[in-house]
Symmetry: C2
Subunit: 582 residues, 2 copies
């Protein structure tokens, strides 16, 4: 036995007890007659004392301890004269009797503190040291806690955890698959799942009624800042449900997590907002409802005033930033630069300042009378002191730019408090979206999403207008999860595949097993999948998922620590009958 | 809302209530004036009644319902005149007012009952129907329950669940890896983990102290009857522990599962048995302790009696089957055929019958006097009525054959009760085993296993005699899990790699990150991994893991339902710069 206690639990209750501890040297201070060592483990920090007068040899040995040495000590719990109220163990220290170095340590390549001097690449290479930093450890602890609470809750609600396979079949829809060559079936491949979608539907056909799994999924995509080739999903499915049954069930889960993990009580039902409203009022399908500042469309109101920008724009819209009329030229320039960034791509920014004296000052004074400006301001219920910001251009990109501008202002005005949570269900998404490149419709969610039954006849006339019985959970502007009621009828599934441009052969080859399953008694069903990494990041107050993943990959899909992907042996290639050339 | 209740919960408490239910038609009986339908869901079976006199149209509709149709009904809970005490809902039936067919069903290709007429291939192809059979559903429910209890217990003991990556690095040791070509790093591959071994050790270096995960692992092996290319492990690791700390912790887990899942109380500490003893007394490193019948070595006792078989044998040993002296010639022939099967490979079987009258009858009467036979019988403390069975030959294959024979007799004599559990720790395995083919030592567990410190000096003289600080948990002859104290010292790890015939370059290329981690403060640590599929199968009373896995693969590694592995498109191959020819 290496220890009687951890470094986080001793206090005055154990006074004068003999204890043994094991852990890492966080830091050591040599004050002449005394040497103090802060010893760390996962549970906390405990101060060790070595006394030169009482035990010279031991004290000299202690002075040689370097940062991150692993040691084991025995000694007596003693009251500290100089207490540290910030530490749970701050009332005591251990007067050391024996010291054993279990493993020495080289000087780490960066400091093991919350504020470290290690750059990203260095920290990733030595991730096992990075994970020692308290801030990262707390993220992992949060992730652990959330995973336990997710399962505890879903188990209590009768959900079955069922493991679905990882070696599955490549599918023609969605992102690119990672594939796995089969040695026993040469020339053939498995694919790693992008999600357990078809399996969870088959579990519903199997009558399992309520299914969940916290499961790794894989997408071979070019990685943007916040994407990982492997990510974790809370994957769920229910039978004999309509949309509101699903939303109620997972509102329950979300409230449970808020309560148990963050100690936050979310009152009342989550707001529901149709996709069209979200786009019109917030310019995005994942609005941050922590603040208002809704977008107003001004297109027809501002046309015919000889102002070319408005007259030629497909869409003009604006937002009202309360109390910002005093923004300086420089501040407005910063906002203009913000919307003109290539990622946002607006041509320019038009403002109307609602001065405290009731007058208006605007970029477009030349084209609009004071009265006309006032009537524009009234659209926003703007008050003296408010600032109206207007963008014009192609509709969807302008709405997107307004959304980004709104979020930027929300941040600047401190309207996006990290401790305020505003969950929202976005519903009634379009079922299909036109893809210019392929010249056909793609499924906005996936090809198993049910259309809204009242929109079925639109398939013949305007397929783009058919709404999906789909929903996303958005919290504070972050999409935490999404799902839908699924198709459970073979004919409707065939119609859907047809609209997606699948040939019958394609459909049978890729999803024959699902179509066949629908013929043997498939219940109505629906479900949802949550991005677990993202949900943990949200609860951790982080923007990136990287720091809630123990061993993440970089933007080239590489694990810098173990240095993978890497070459494989000729022997392995030969066994798989593969060569490295197309 | 499709239902107010499930098919498993109604009883007399809901008498005269109007309810709605949804589920599958299990069977329907048409008794002239009445039609009875058994309706099934995950939760149970409820009887529906349609009355010809009261509602002719509805009753006629009900008569058209086929097996496995999905229906929704409303009606009133009524007391049954003919109660069924076997069903929790057997006191009531529902007099149906409305019936809606949610989805019709074709006649299933096999019966959805515990005893089905479907063969293995057919059931695997339609696994979603096979999963409907109550016996399989109960296995899945057991698996769910066990997974929840594993996590609940380990969480309560301070273990962190940490997800380790699936896209890792191919390793030179162990079984064959599945590899995943990288599109972003052409010519390079990830490997799927055979276990998270190195990552869990790095989590210990990171100071996470106690880690667990229920996680999929992958091995590209030629599949024997009870192997799957993907399987599930309960993977655990602890810091600052010696062997007994680990055994205590996981004895706690095992006892918790026995208690919570099976309602079985295991009293006292689990027995510990050195590997050498297990081999000597049971002929196997996973002895079934539900019965005795230990192997006794007879080699030197039986030599010099002119019996060529014994005289030329490296090893002679036997077991004593109590009360079997009356076995007929035919029964003995069956046992002889059993040990002569190619899988076992004994040349023949020698017996000594201890007759009730104190005399002996034996295959070797010619060579052994009655007194000599008695002294052999005394080795086994045989009593009149017992049967001694003896095998001779090469040592390890003979011990193995004796082990198989012992188990066979245990089964025949009903000594292997499925409701009796005898857990055992097998300890002190050899560290290395000689591999004739490669002409070098291989790690018996894996190259990170610590030798027993007292055996270190044997490395120089007899490496094959070095014992590992390793342990297996064996229950009723099934190896449920295994683990070890790990090496945490860079020098010892290097020595180990050297003994395994790794060059320094190999070691650095494949495990450089781990060697490097050992230099920055690695704590002493150890752990264990349990075969979750096998543990569930044991608790389910099944010999095969196939029926505790929702979507298993067959012996060629194929999923018959989704028909994978399968071809991939030229476009996919091109993107990966691969061609299907070595």
């Amino acid at each position: 036995m290496y220890r009687t206690h951890t470094c986080g639990e001793l206090n005055l209750e154990q006074l004068n007890k003999n204890v043994s501890l094991a852990g890492w040297v966080q830091r050591s201070r040599d004050l002449g007659g005394m040497t103090f060592v802060d010893m760390r483990d996962r549970y906390g920090i405990t101060q060790l004392v070595f006394n030169m007068e009482e035990n010279r040899d031991l004290c000299l040995e202690a002075r040689k301890l370097g940062r991150e040495f692993v040691i084991q000590v025995t000694g007596m719990v003693t009251e500290r004269s100089n207490k540290n109220p910030k530490l749970p163990t701050g009332d005591i220290e251990i007067v050391i009797e024996t010291l054993r170095i279990l493993n020495p340590a080289e000087v780490p390549p960066f400091t093991i503190e919350n504020e470290t001097d290690g750059g990203d690449d260095l920290r990733m290479k030595y991730r096992y040291l990075d994970l020692r930093r308290p801030t990262i450890r707390k993220n992992m602890e949060l992730r652990h806690r959330m995973a336990q609470e997710v399962r505890r809750y879903l188990d209590s609600q009768g959900f079955f955890e069922v493991e679905t396979p990882f070696l599955i079949k490549t599918t023609p829809e969605g992102a690119r698959d990672f594939v796995v060559p089969s040695r026993m079936n040469l020339g053939q491949f498995y694919a790693l799942p992008q999600s357990p979608q078809t399996f969870k539907q088959l579990l519903m056909v199997a009558g399992y009624d309520r299914y969940f799994q916290i499961v790794k999924c894989f997408r071979d995509e070019d990685l943007r800042a916040d994407r990982q080739p492997e990510f974790t999903q809370i994957d769920c499915e229910m039978s004999f449900v309509d949309r509101n049954d699903v939303l109620d069930a997972f509102e329950g889960l979300a409230k449970h997590l808020f309560r148990e993990v963050l100690d936050v009580e979310i009152e009342g039902a989550f707001e529901k907002m149709p996709y069209d409203t979200a786009i019109a009022e917030y310019g995005t399908d994942k609005p941050d409802l922590r603040f208002g500042m809704k977008i107003k469309e001004l297109t027809s109101l501002v046309q015919g005033k000889e102002f070319q920008v408005f007259d030629s724009a497909e869409f003009t819209g604006g937002i009202c930033a309360q109390g910002c009329a005093e923004y300086s030229r420089k501040e407005l320039d910063v906002l203009t630069d913000f919307v003109k960034r290539p990622q946002i791509g607006a041509k320019g920014l038009i403002y109307i300042k609602c001065n405290e004296d009731g007058t208006f000052k605007s970029t477009v004074d030349k084209f609009f009378s004071a009265e006309e400006l006032k009537s524009l301001a009234d659209q926003f219920h703007a008050k003296p002191g408010d600032l109206i910001l207007i963008l014009a251009g192609e509709q969807s990109s302008t709405l997107n730019a307004l959304s980004e501008l709104r979020l930027e202002l929300g941040t600047r005005l401190n309207l996006r408090d990290k401790n305020t949570y505003r969950p929202l269900w976005v519903v009634d998404f379009p079922l299909l979206e036109w893809n210019e490149e392929s010249g056909r419709f793609h499924a906005m969610h996936h090809p198993f999403t049910s259309p809204k039954m009242e929109d079925l006849e639109l398939f013949d006339t305007e397929p783009g207008k058919v709404r999906a019985n789909a929903y996303d959970l958005v919290i504070n502007g972050v999409e935490i999860g999404g799902g839908s009621i699924r198709i459970h009828d073979e004919k409707l599934q065939k119609l859907m595949f047809k609209n997606l441009g699948f040939t019958d052969e394609d459909a049978v080859e890729k999803f024959g097993f699902l179509m066949s399953a629908f013929r043997y008694g498939a219940p109505p069903h629906g479900g949802i999948a949550f991005g677990f990494d993202r949900w943990v990041a949200l609860f951790a107050g982080l923007d990136s998922i990287r720091d809630v993943i123990a061993f993440p990959k970089n933007n080239s899909g590489r694990d810098m620590m173990i240095d993978t992907p890497s070459g494989i042996s000729d022997e392995q290639l030969k066994e798989l009958n593969l060569s490295l050339k197309y």
